[in-house]
Subunit: 338 residues, 2 copies
């Protein structure tokens, strides 16, 4: 509270106090080798007594580099890779600025946000863009000349990106059910304008059809528990019968488990259930949930590593890096009882 509110010390103040030039102070701060031990200590002392902190704005202006990375995220409910991104950004010496663009945002609004940040002197951005609302090209165009990495665009998208192979994940899940002997398999998919959800759904349909099985027992959910609940209720109300259920993600699986139970169906005796994600709680569902694990920490890390390398190493090849989900078998699946 006793703020003396004296203006913050500058390079020149420090230089003056230490009896050297401002350039020398700058050298000390930036750990330039060619400074004699003696002067370095004088300068360090002056910095200490003046409680000097370099002014980043000036530094950014002079160098053109801000050491800030912008994360554009379309829905904070799906921010699983965030902790890892934060961790690795910091590890590489970058701060993370976060913006959320509502997936239902108008083109203008999105544009405005993106415009805004290009002026912020940002070194690069990660766009976590599982929604199909904007095309990847469009997004790339919007952020102009800045280095960027897309997290989770379409498999095969021709741009610097890191993705999970959702087809592979869906295949693991469905094959598991088929191997157990299930033939009547229903699905509560995620929202189909969500890339991941769509790919899983398409894989489901394709695989079922390839085996001559009914692929029509499918309803669209919203990736949240209530959506999973309602999806199952819808399926059952249409008098569909099935011995296994593929659910778009774990949160919906939670709602689905609840709905099945509410309708007197036992899991896994009557219906096997497979989720997607392997959230921490999945091992504590009732029953514990068989699911497809996605390593979001790896995703976050790869994004940052890749982006930093694009920023700092000029000739980094632009490619798509693919991560593969894994099946985690628990109690919610077993062979059909018939």
């Amino acid at each position: 509270m006793a703020e003396s509110q004296t203006k913050r010390a500058t390079l020149h103040d420090v230089a003056h106090l230490a009896g050297v030039s401002y350039q020398t102070v700058s050298r000390v701060i930036n750990k330039h080798p060619n400074v004699s031990r003696n002067t370095r200590e004088k300068v360090l002392g002056a910095i200490d007594t003046l409680d000097y902190r370099p002014n980043q704005a000036a530094k950014i202006l002079a160098t053109g580099r801000s050491h800030m990375i912008q994360l554009i995220i379309f829905d904070l409910s799906y921010s699983d890779p965030l902790p890892a991104m934060l961790y690795w950004a910091r590890k590489f010496g970058y701060s993370l600025v976060i913006s959320e663009i509502n997936p239902r945002a108008s083109r203008n609004e999105a544009q405005e946000i993106l415009e805004d940040l290009t002026s912020r002197m940002i070194d690069g951005l990660v766009i976590y863009t599982p929604f199909l609302h904007f095309s990847h090209e469009e997004l790339a165009e919007m952020c102009h000349h800045l280095p960027f990495v897309m997290a989770g665009p379409e498999l095969g998208a021709k741009m610097p990106s890191v993705v999970f192979d959702q087809r592979h994940g869906a295949r693991l899940a469905l094959q598991h059910l088929l191997d157990l002997g299930h033939r009547c398999i229903a699905e509560v998919s995620g929202p189909l304008q969500h890339i991941d959800a769509r790919m899983r759904h398409e894989t489901f349909v394709a695989m079922m059809q390839a085996r001559g099985l009914d692929s029509s027992l499918s309803t669209e959910g919203d990736f949240e528990a209530p959506g999973g609940y309602e999806g199952v209720i819808r399926l059952l109300d249409e008098h569909k019968t099935f011995t296994a259920l593929l659910v778009g993600n774990d949160r919906m699986a939670m709602g689905a488990l609840h709905a099945l139970r509410a309708r007197g169906l036992r899991v896994p005796e009557d219906v096997s259930v497979v989720g997607f994600d392997d959230m921490l709680e999945a091992a504590y569902f009732i029953p514990t949930l068989t699911t497809v694990r996605q390593d979001f920490d790896a995703l976050g890390r790869q994004c940052m590593e890749y982006l930093v390398s694009i920023i700092e190493t000029p000739d980094t090849p632009l490619q798509q890096r693919v991560l593969y989900p894994e099946l985690v078998v628990r109690d919610s699946t077993r062979p059909p009882t018939s």
Copy 2:
């Protein structure tokens, strides 16, 4: 890909093209009223053809204001207020920079992070600090002269802050169980170095003792599902018996429900369970969970409103703003079957 990589246009370039002074361009950009309609349009045209974007670093340097708010968070697993913070920060014209400080971080590490950001020309910070590792005074000291708001420090802390009244919340939960007729009540608390967890725990103990009831049926958890599971197992293994269970948060409640079931105890027939938070999924637990709702959106919003007001309105009074949790009754509680 066809990057012409021409240097970005500056104020002077625009001025030159529009045939006016740079100051006039500045006025147009900052929507200063005294610019004739005619010149404004000329300038706007020039801005457009040059694809000019103001350089924020220069602006920050000149004005001393960055319109950035830093969020210090101690564990991203507890980032419930984040979406609201992001939303309101943007609404007020601020970007949000996020840093996580591991609660187990050494004093030095924390200091370093905080030092670092004071140089980043940040206008203010929100410190979401439910951990007791650093004292509030210490934190306030670390971020020096910058305006700040603490989210979730101790009730009564003498500093600008927004908190939930955890005692009130715990009272609601416990009173609900008492009203139902429970007398043998156990607790799986959150980690006790977490302020919220500690306050809830202390309230539990105090209330039980005030009524001459056994307050020793308590074990410490970690706020995650596995911790809830293990907590219940521990209580049962010690041959404690209870008809009701207070759990430190919903995630642990999920593990607790699982453990009770695994041990053959039915909820709510044999044991009633109350959680804390009211996460979206709580209504889909098996059974649906009675819990104490905390309005994290309100918390996030209040923090931002308050901080922005401190930044922009010099004589904003420094106070603590208190939010009150509410009880949400669902299926996991009922009177004991004695």
